[in-house]
Structures are given as C-alpha cells and as structure tokens.
C-alpha cells in the first residue's frame, strides 16, 4: 500500500520539475484507515505535486501509537505528522513533543470559513492553543444483526442495558450461542468512560481518579450484569468484529469507527446501527472517540513545516474529512464537509447517521494525568477483564482495588 502511495506521489512529482519536500506521516488502525489515505492521496498528489508524503508503519492502535511517538522523541526520529487518540494528545503536549498550531492558523485567511468550528477545535486545544486538528470523531453505538433479532422475535431495538440483557435471553433461547459483544477492551478504557459519562460523571476529576462514588459502583455493576446476564464470551476485539461480520454475534456494542470495515466484510444479513443504550433512560453524555492530527516534526526547516501544515489542512478539510466519512464509520469534524459534500450521504447511509444523532452528547475522552497514563489504562483494563472472565464478582472490592492501584500511578 505504501508502495502504491509512494509510486503515485513519485509519478506525479516526476512529471513536474519542481523541488519536492518530504514529509513523514504516521497513523493507526490499518484496517480502518489504509483505504482512507489511499483515497485521499490521489487528490492530494494532484493538488500538491511538490510535497512527497511518506507513510510510516501503521500503528496497531492508539496506545501503541503513543508509545512509539514517546520512544521516537527520545531516540530523535519523530515523523512530521502523527494521528493520536484524542485522549493521548495531552501527554504529547505536556512533554513538548506536539507543536502548537497557532502560528499556522494565524497565517490563514479564512480558517473558520473552511469549516473548522469551535466545538471540534476544542477537542484538540490545550491551554487555549490548538495543538491537534481533529481527523476523525466517533461515538459508541450498537450494531445489530437484524436477521437474528427478527428470528428471535425482537422487534424493538433496546434502549437501555436491561432491555439488552432481556434480548440476550431471547436470542439464547432461540439457539444463538454468542448473542452479544460489549467492547470493554476497546482502547483507552473508552467504554468504562462511556458508562461514567452516561451518568454525567468524568473519570478524572481534579486530577484524581473519580470512581469512588455511587456512579462508579453503578458502572461496574452494569458491566457485571451485562457480562453475566448474557454470558458474554471473552473475545479479543478483532475476533469479535470478524465474528459479527460472519453473522455469529447478534448485538455488538463498539465504536462507530468500524462501520465501514464491517460493511465491507460482512455476510448477507441486514445490519442496523442504533443509539448506545443508557442505564436508566438515555445516556447523559458519551466520550468522543477518534483521533487528531498533531504536528510533531523535530525539524525547523520552514519549507518542511509549511508542507506538513498543508497536509494537515488537507486531510482535515472538506475533501479529506469527506473521505473519512465515506470509507469508515467516523464522523467528519469539519462543518464544510458535513454541509457541502455529505448532504445526501446520510440519507444514503443511515447506519452512519446514528453517531451523528448522538453528537449533542459529545464529551471529552479523558486523559490520565502524569507520565504513567499507559500503565493506568492497563490497570483499569485488567480490572474489567476480571469481571468478564468471572474472576471478580464483588464490585465493591474491585472498586477499592482500582482506586488504590490507579491512585499510586497518578501524580500525587
């Protein structure tokens, strides 16, 4: 894929005798974004034949992406641009690895006109300065295999978790061995944060781990009820996505991001997406998923930085953002894309509209303060895993354990 991209850019460059600038870009999730970038590069190479874009090896996920950038910062071989999970921008800004984009924005004539609206820019802003331009935004949704649901006699899609559990029982009675997959193992403890934001509670408050309250306990108990009530299997998320696509799982709760990939891979069944269920009634908030593009170039060559900025603008602008929406399930964070290019898109792709309808619930995907964010993520992940495999049934005890262990890793 990289060869094709480089070949395209080289071919276009070779035809014009212009001095070409090289920039290097890193992004995550090959199964989601390979097709997106391949689509965008065709237009980019035509519009900017003087910029030679080289792609680094694709990150396995957001966590690995952050880990790699941190290590590359130390060993001195950072790329120019990197896509990082929204919750992983903070640490790069803190360490001075990400560069402020304000100087570039200041030079732009009509930045807001090009569709960058305030709410989206907030997601990449720190200390009132924009560091990351949001590239793709997602929200949790439910994926449903309508054939299996109808066969089990479930007419209305569930609105809260109790209804989900009831649906599980019906499906199981109807012979479905694996009725549900709930994405507890998604990157950055996103689903844990979902359950907390559903109750309008942030996971970090005043720099402390905020589950030492009723909401935290309810979140843990909701998870336990779903896992036990549905006897959910401990599938790895990749296995779960391919199982759902193969028509074996009836209900899947995951980020809307995989929608494009699942649609490409799925068998012949009718698939519908629906709003993420709430605990009692509708959710009060949901964390924004997705990634932002950051400028991490260690070079001071103005030409190179300008080329990087051009690329940044391109991929987050109307054309680029539209490509994101067309090839994945992510939402484009760019107003121009939404209003101009994608007007008919959502009527033609109703499944992708579910996330858009939930936009008013958008909240921050919280980063863990301090150096040890990745370690904290692992601790919470391990805690949830223990619930899934039936090793932990006392949620109060788990709550205490998590508070203690995470507390040790956060800055005092």
């Amino acid at each position: 894929m990289r060869k094709i991209l480089s070949a395209i850019t080289i071919a276009v460059c070779a035809s014009t005798p212009v001095h070409a600038v090289d920039i290097e870009v890193g992004y995550p999730y090959s199964h989601l974004f390979n097709v997106t970038f391949e689509k965008m590069m065709k237009d980019f190479s035509q519009q900017h034949p003087d910029i030679n874009v080289k792609f680094r090896a694709v990150y396995e996920g957001y966590e690995e992406g952050t880990n790699i950038i941190l290590r590359e910062a130390i060993s001195g071989n950072l790329p120019d641009i990197t896509m990082q999970g929204l919750n992983r921008q903070a640490i790069l800004v803190e360490k001075g690895i990400a560069r402020s984009l304000e100087p570039f924005i200041a030079k732009e004539a009509n930045f807001t006109k090009e569709g960058y609206h305030q709410a989206m820019l907030e997601l990449g802003s720190f200390n009132n300065e924009v560091y990351g331009l949001p590239f793709s935004i997602s929200l949790p949704v439910g994926y449903y295999n309508m054939d299996m649901m109808k066969k089990a006699g479930i007419e209305k899609l569930p609105e809260n978790w109790s209804e989900v559990i009831a649906a599980c029982q019906k499906l199981r009675a109807n012979g479905v061995k694996n009725p549900v997959f709930w994405g507890w193992n998604i990157t950055g403890n996103w689903f844990m944060q979902s359950l907390l934001w559903t109750q309008d509670t942030p996971i970090i408050k005043d720099g402390k781990f905020n589950i030492d309250n009723q909401e935290g306990l309810i979140a843990l108990n909701t998870m336990k009820d779903i896992f036990r009530g549905c006897e959910m299997k401990n599938l790895a998320w990749k296995e779960a996505l391919s199982s759902f696509a193969a028509g074996e799982v009836a209900m899947m709760y995951w980020s809307t991001s995989a929608l494009g990939s699942v649609e490409r891979a799925k068998g012949d069944f009718e698939m519908k997406t629906h709003e993420f269920p709430g605990i009692n009634g509708k959710p009060k908030g949901l964390p924004a998923g997705g990634n932002a593009a950051l400028l991490v170039s260690s070079s001071n060559d103005p030409e190179r930085l300008q080329a990087a900025w051009t690329f940044l603008k391109f991929i987050t602008s109307g054309v680029g953002a539209a490509a994101v929406a067309e090839t994945t399930g992510y939402m484009p964070p760019n107003k121009a894309a939404n209003e101009i290019i994608l007007r008919d898109f959502y009527t033609q792709n109703p499944n992708k509209e579910t996330a858009v309808r939930q936009l008013p619930l958008l909240r921050e995907w919280m980063a863990y303060p301090g150096d040890k964010g990745l370690a904290v993520t692992q601790v919470i992940y391990d805690g949830m895993e223990r619930i899934v495999v039936d090793e932990q049934n006392d949620m109060k005890a788990l709550q205490k354990e998590l508070i203690e262990e995470v507390g040790e890793l956060l800055p005092q």
Partner: protein, 297 residues
C-alpha cells in the same frame, strides 16, 4: 533389537504418521489459505488449492474503482497484496543483510579469540576463559532492556547497527570454535610457524579451512536464530519500515480486522518461512549434522 516384527514396525509408522500430521498441520493451513479467497477462508471450503474462482476485491471497490477492474483470482490477490501492501522484498533483503552481517562479525570476533584460548599459552588465559564461562550464563534476550537503554542514549535506536551490535559477541561461538580447535593437531600450527606465518594469519589461513564443519554448524544456528528473531527488532525498531526484518513485516498484516487480510497474511507468512525451509530441505543432512555437532557440547 535384533528381531524384526512387521506388526511393531507398522505400529511405529502409524504413530509417527499421526505425529507428522499434527506437526505439518499449520504448514498446510498456511499454504492453503494463501491460495484462497476470504469467503473460502471463513467457511473452510475449497480443499487445498481453493476453487480459484474470481473474487471481487472490496477494498479496491471502496477506493472508487470499477468492479471489473477489481476482480481477480484469490492466489493473485493474496500474493500481490502481500508484496504491495508492504515492501516485503525489502524486509527479506533486511533479513539477509542483518543475518549476514551478524554472522560475519561473529566469526571475525570469535575465531581469533577461540584460537588464542585453545592453541596459545599466555598469561591470563584461565581468567579470560572463566569470564567466558560466566558470560555464557547471560542470555542476550534477558538483558535486552538495559541494552535498549544504552543504545537509546547513544542515539543508535532504529538503525541497522542496533539490530546487529548486541549479537556480535557470540560467547557460544567462541566456545564452539575453541572445542573444535583443540582437536586440530599442533604439528600443523608448528609447521606454519616455521614457515614464518604470524599468529594472526595462522588463524585465517590454517585454522579456518579445517574448521569448516564447525563453521557451518555455527552459521546454521546464527542465521536461523537471527532471521526469525522477533523480540529484539520489536523493541529496537519503531516506525521506520525500511528496517523491518521479516517477522516484523509479517506482524504488520495482523492489523486487519476485516476478513480480507487473512489471505495476504498467510501469503506473507509463506514467503517468510520458505527461504529457510528450502535451504533446509536442500542441505538437511548438513543442517541436522550441524545441530548435532553443537549439541555434543
């Protein structure tokens, strides 16, 4: 066992054949799936070769290409994806560069040392030998972390140097060569000395030719271990694809959560595994003899 019973022989063969089937299963799966379409892989149909019916490449369709341009046979799709999606040839080349460099440097370092330890008398010989015995206790993989830290501070991470340097000292190689050199008759060396050869040239002109069997054994160990090494390159190479060794290249393919990547992934695995297997099949007596030789000590 001087008696021969046909029943016993048949039983032995039966057991061995069942074992061989289990041992061979993954190789069968790997090659077979590299020839199949995503549908066939998901449903486990198509026999060994796969039906080779034309399939539509969904990825290519999503890019906006017309459907008939995106239709191809599975084997073509899988193997071209394997070579196109990532620079597989580059990875193989890296594998060759890295294993060759490591082996050559290992020989340059260990041969003279082994000679000095086996054929020369000098002060400090016992001490150095004990140092070597002690170092044999330290597997390089165990100290990967501090090595990584040291290389990081020296700014050498993400380079060929980082892939090669930790392996240049092969204590095992010194040991092996020393054992072998001890069996070389002293007269050979004395004759060379009388001819006026320096000690250094004795190593390369006299000892090297006689040590070819041991060198082959050493080469086999070294090449196989470093061609297949995944742990160290995983730590030391981050984003620069140009430095990926074959195992790292294979790992890239696992990113795919959509079924269409299974075929190309198996094709990549086949391509990575083939070189060593083919070399092994051609020279299997030498290979097994080599392992035996090193195993004796």
């Amino acid at each position: 066992m001087s008696h021969y019973s046909p029943i016993a022989e048949t039983c032995k063969h039966l057991i061995l054949i069942i074992g061989a089937l289990i041992v061979f299963l993954p190789f069968y799966v790997m090659v077979s799936y590299s020839l199949k379409s995503p549908k066939e892989i998901e449903t486990n149909t198509g026999g060994f070769w796969g039906a080779q019916a034309p399939m539509v490449n969904q990825y290519c369709v999503k890019l906006g290409n017309p459907v008939d341009q995106c239709t191809t046979t599975p084997i073509v799709f899988n193997y071209t994806s394997a070579f196109n999606k990532a620079p597989l040839l580059r990875y193989l080349l890296n594998g060759v560069i890295v294993t060759l460099s490591i082996f050559i440097i290992q020989v340059i370092i260990s041969m003279p040392a082994a000679y000095a330890l086996s054929k020369l008398r000098w002060r400090g010989r016992e001490a150095v030998f004990n140092l070597i015995l002690f170092s044999l206790l330290i597997p390089v993989h165990a100290i990967a972390l501090p090595l990584y830290l040291m290389l990081s501070k020296a700014g050498l991470v993400n380079t060929y140097a980082a892939l090669v340097i930790p392996w240049t000292i092969s204590v095992f190689g010194i040991f092996l060569m020393r054992q072998f050199f001890k069996t070389v008759p002293d007269d050979l060396i004395d004759a060379a000395r009388l001819d006026g050869m320096s000690e250094f040239s004795i190593v390369w002109r006299v000892m090297l030719p006689t040590a070819v069997p041991a060198l082959i054994a050493f080469a086999i160990f070294s090449v196989v271990a470093h061609w297949n090494d995944y742990f160290w390159p995983r730590i030391v190479i981050t984003g620069n694809q140009n430095l990926f060794t074959p195992p790292l290249g294979l790992r890239e393919f696992r990113g795919g959560a959509d079924g269409s990547d299974w075929g190309p992934m198996m094709a990549t695995a086949t391509v990575i595994v083939i070189p060593l297997i083919v070399a092994f099949l051609i020279a299997q007596k030498k290979f097994i003899g080599g392992i035996t030789l090193t195993g004796m000590k």
